[in-house]
């Protein structure tokens, strides 16, 4: 599709952050164009399983240096605020995005694990989260579908799920309805200064724009390099997910394990989405992500230990996709020294945070005071 040759704001990347940006900036009455080198919502945004993660995840607990700890504590508040933005969106978007905030459980096999969770809860409560620990009996009462061998769990009331396959396209449609123009299969090749704005060279010709927002996710550092900015690299982590056949609703929560690689929830269709960070690989010849047998079998073993009823169910699909990881933390807002160039990059559990990231960048671009206290987030200019 031929892109427009001029726009006020050019958004690079059609994932959840890019589409949310287009939605809000167009809502501000700005002239907005979005480009993606693929279709919209094809990479991490379209291929994640829609968990709304808020509480500190087990791998984050292992980050003990002061800088990482601070980052985790701050992003924690951002996730919590992010869920609130999703709740707002579910009331304003044109479709049911299958948003459910029915709480999340981090389950523990042993008393020792539960102790670790107790420390974690203290840390989270200090960040304003209403998380709490429940014991064996409390867990039986709250989630009778779980194995009776579990020692207890941490409850995080703000966690839940959303359907990324519905939510991102809905944001994109909303943006278009507000006048944003979305261009698929347009790849950014270079950025030049053009007066006070930029000239963006693409495979479909140049786009003149006043401002550029880098919402390219994993490719964000490559885009930033086009204006001479060096960002820490993103890593692509190839992960796989399992989907069971649909069954009557019986799982209300987003469940994850305190120590083992397990996350699951029941989607609106009735299928359970089971993952937890098990690795997949990319086929050398075809370039397609492919699942590993050992990942499928190990992931399902832990799942079945946790939910005995899975012995009555089948797996009907799996998928593998590339998740974006970075040590950089959030990179949000106008880059010092490059007026008009904004980053909107956020790695871990980015789908939960996508809309709030876009809102913060929108507020920054509009020169407004952010609605979320961004102190300590490492934002440019904050």
């Amino acid at each position: 599709m031929k892109p427009a040759i001029a726009t006020d704001v050019l958004i690079v990347g059609g994932g959840v952050i890019g589409c949310s940006l287009a939605y809000w900036l167009a809502g501000e009455g700005l002239d907005v164009a979005l480009i993606d080198r693929h279709d919209l919502n094809t990479q991490a945004s379209g291929c994640n399983a829609g968990s709304l993660h808020v509480q500190i995840m087990s791998f984050q607990l292992k980050l003990t240096d002061e800088r990482s700890r601070r980052r985790v504590d701050t992003t924690l508040r951002m996730y919590a605020a992010g869920v609130g933005v999703w709740q707002e969106l579910s009331n304003t978007l044109d479709t049911d995005i299958e948003l459910h905030v029915d709480g999340g459980l981090m389950i523990a096999d042993t008393e020792a694990q539960l102790c670790v969770l107790e420390d974690k809860v203290k840390r989270e409560r200090a960040s304003g989260l209403d998380n709490r620990i429940i014991d064996r009996a409390g867990l039986r009462a709250l989630a009778p579908y779980l194995s009776e061998h579990l020692a207890g769990a941490e409850v995080c009331p703000l966690e839940g799920r959303v359907n990324p396959a519905i939510a991102t396209p809905s944001l994109a449609r909303g943006a278009e309805a507000r006048g944003a123009r979305m261009f698929r299969h347009v790849e950014l090749r270079a950025i030049e200064r053009d007066g006070r704005g930029f000239k963006a060279e693409t495979n479909h010709g140049p786009i003149r724009c006043g401002r550029i927002i880098n919402a390219a996710g994993r490719l964000g550092p490559e885009i930033a390099a086009m204006v001479g900015i060096r960002l820490p690299p993103y890593e692509g982590e190839v992960l796989h997910m399992n989907v069971t056949e649909p069954v009557e609703h019986f799982v209300d929560h987003l469940v994850q394990h305190a120590e083992r690689r397990l996350t699951f929830k029941q989607a609106t269709t009735g299928g359970l989405l089971i993952g937890g960070g098990w690795p997949a690989v990319v086929d050398q010849r075809t370039g397609l992500p492919i699942s590993l047998r050992t990942s499928i079998q190990s992931n399902l073993w832990i799942a079945q230990q946790t939910v005995p009823r899975l012995a009555h169910m089948r797996i009907v699909r799996t998928w593998a996709a590339i998740n974006a990881l970075s040590d950089a933390g959030p990179l949000l807002g106008e880059v010092p020294g490059v007026p008009g160039f904004h980053n909107a990059l956020f790695a871990d559990a980015g789908y939960t945070a996508g809309p709030i990231v876009a809102r913060l960048v929108t507020e920054g671009l509009m020169g407004r005071k952010p609605t979320f206290d961004i102190h300590g987030l490492g934002l440019y200019g904050a």
Binding site: E248, S298, L300, W301, R314, R317
Partner: protein
């Protein structure tokens, strides 16, 4: 309805099962699908939208004939053997939660599942797979054949089930006999045969995951022969999801293996010789066949060259064709050339078939509609190769625009682009059962060599003979399909409200609308509409959507135009897969 006569007798015990609480008489050893069809129970499951479904593919691919058995959910009636006292119920959507007494789908493994390391693993026990096993076994290889069905033979050589017996060999037609002889020969060669064994994942040439005997087992063969055959193309027309509307192959399995007719008044339609053969078989069995509706024009003088070519290459098959058409003519069963079934109608099951005449361009002509009151519609529009093992292995394929199928790339020895992986028969691209057998033998010999064996002289001689005949069979097939040349419909017979994705109930209109928003890949449409996310893994809607994609984005269809191949190849019980990780 059960058919009788022709020197075939029931030998199985009659047993009682229940369907939705009603007693149904079944024959011990037949499939649940056969028992229920014989009893006139066509509607087997309810969909999410509340409509009814029944048998469609009859071979374990489409997942439409799901029933609940003794509380266990989502059991394929066509692949499950009936047992006395079974409590069969219509499958609801979504599946019900298990009761306290519901048996597990599989017992969680107590120890590491078995790992098998045969010289040659053959996937598929049809014409190609059996010949491959024969060649490799005769060359001294230790061979395992795995097949998903309860009996060997595949679709072409499917045998009479053990519920029945021929009163003498003379009652057997030559297709039965050739299949029986080949199966016997392979069984006599010490080949290990695993029936009711399903490949759920192909993770590498030496990492084939199989669900068999209630557990997941791993094969690490030295050489792999993929002979997974083909399945019928899905051509969406209004009403094609009604119970009673099934593939011609499904009807043939019911009839040839279980002596059950899909209905009392049957119409067959689509394109190709199988419809005429099955119409003949149904007619001989005393079933009322109201018409065979063939999209191709009646072979005339213009086809003399092709008919001559066919008579030269395989005169016996031409004779069979003449027998079929003559029998149909004598029974007053019309073959309506230049016609297509454009719609199935009925309340909860097939009641009426609507046909129309076609223009020379293959468009139904308004005003030429005719209606037939029937209780079964059997449709075959040709086949799609089952590339569900070769694709995840990363074997190079290409799209054959002439045949409209994904086709494997192999050398003259059926060796694919992945070392040690051979593809033979229809799973690599349609060539018919005779070519499949030659390819199977060729692949079996190459696999034996790959496993370090030297071919005995008699095998060498047979290999040379079969290599010599392969060209003849392929010329026959080319001429045959030239005679049956017809429009290759994808979405064209569907209306906006016709389901393209049967599993997730996605209409042509919804798919078109999604394409209209600017999405231009099948993967994007899948995420947006759920088309292709269902239990059949997009086997029926996938090719239609790929075709629509090429119309939208103007790109020619190629190897990567289709849905990405994902495990499991078919739904598989979690309990069988679950395996303790090394660090747990």
């Amino acid at each position: 309805m059960r058919v009788k006569g022709h020197g075939i007798n029931v030998v199985a015990k009659e047993i009682d099962v229940t369907f939705n609480g009603q007693v149904v008489k079944a024959l011990e050893g037949e499939t649940v699908a056969a028992s229920l069809t014989a009893a006139g129970k066509l509607s087997l499951r309810q969909t999410k939208a509340g409509s009814r479904r029944g048998i469609f593919c009859g071979m374990g691919v489409c997942n439409e004939c799901l029933v609940a058995i003794n509380g266990q959910q989502n059991i394929r009636a066509c692949m499950t053997t009936v047992k006395p006292g079974m409590r069969i119920e219509e499958q609801t959507y979504p599946g019900k939660l298990p009761g306290p007494d519901t048996p597990y789908l599989a017992e969680p493994p107590v120890s590491d599942p078995p790992v098998h390391k045969p010289d040659v693993l053959v996937i598929g026990g049809g014409p190609a797979g059996l010949q491959a096993a024969k060649a490799a076994a005769k060359s001294g290889c230790q061979v395992v054949v795995i097949d998903e069905r309860p009996a060997l033979g595949g679709q072409y050589f499917k045998q009479l089930s053990k519920t029945h017996a021929f009163d003498s060999d003379d009652s057997m037609d030559k297709q039965f006999r050739a299949g029986r002889d080949l199966i016997r020969e392979v069984e006599g060669l010490g080949v290990k045969i695993m029936r009711e064994a399903m490949v759920w994942g192909a993770f590498g040439p030496q990492d084939i995951a199989v669900f068999a005997d209630g557990k997941s087992q791993v094969f690490e063969p030295k050489q792999l022969v993929v002979a997974t055959g083909a399945y019928e193309r899905g051509v969406p027309v209004p009403g094609w999801t009604l119970p009673g509307y099934m593939t011609t192959g499904a009807a043939q399995t019911l009839l040839r293996s279980y002596r059950v007719s899909p209905g009392k008044r049957v119409i067959l339609g689509g394109n190709g010789p199988l419809n005429i053969q099955v119409a003949y078989e149904l007619t001989r069995a005393g079933v009322e066949v109201v018409a065979v509706v063939e999209a191709a024009p009646k072979p005339g003088i213009g086809q003399a060259g092709n008919l001559m070519r066919m008579a030269v290459e395989s005169p016996d098959l031409v004779r069979d064709g003449i027998t079929y058409t003559r029998t149909l003519k004598n029974a007053n069963v019309p073959i309506l050339y230049d016609h297509v079934i454009i719609e199935a109608r009925g309340e909860g099951k097939v009641e009426t078939a609507v046909i129309a005449r076609l223009t020379p361009n293959g468009e139904p002509i308004q005003g030429t509609q005719r209606e037939f009151k029937v209780d079964a519609i059997c449709v075959g529009f040709g086949f799609q190769p089952s590339a569900d093992v070769s694709r995840p292995l990363g074997c190079r394929h290409h799209y054959d625009a002439k045949k409209g199928t994904l086709t494997i790339e192999t050398d003259a020895n059926c060796q694919t682009s992945v070392p040690g992986v051979f593809v033979a028969g229809d799973s690599g691209g349609m060539g018919g059962s005779r070519a499949a057998q030659e390819q199977g033998f060729i692949a079996g010999c190459a696999a034996a060599r790959g496993a370090g064996r030297t071919l005995p002289s008699d095998v060498e001689a047979e290999l040379a003979r079969r290599k010599g005949k392969l060209g003849s069979h392929l010329r026959f097939q080319a001429a045959l399909w030239d005679v049956f040349k017809a429009p290759r419909w994808m979405h064209e017979l569907a209306r906006e409200d016709t389901l393209v994705c049967r599993c997730e109930e996605v209409t042509l209109g919804q798919i078109n609308q999604a394409f209209g928003t600017g999405i231009d890949t099948v993967g994007g449409i899948k995420r947006q509409t759920r088309a292709g996310m269902g239990r059949c893994q997009g086997r029926y809607c996938g090719p239609v959507m790929t075709h629509l994609q090429s119309l939208i984005n103007g790109q020619p269809t190629e190897e990567f135009s289709f849905f990405a191949p994902r495990p499991p190849i078919k739904p598989v019980p979690i309990a069988a897969l679950a395996r303790k990780p090394a660090d747990a």
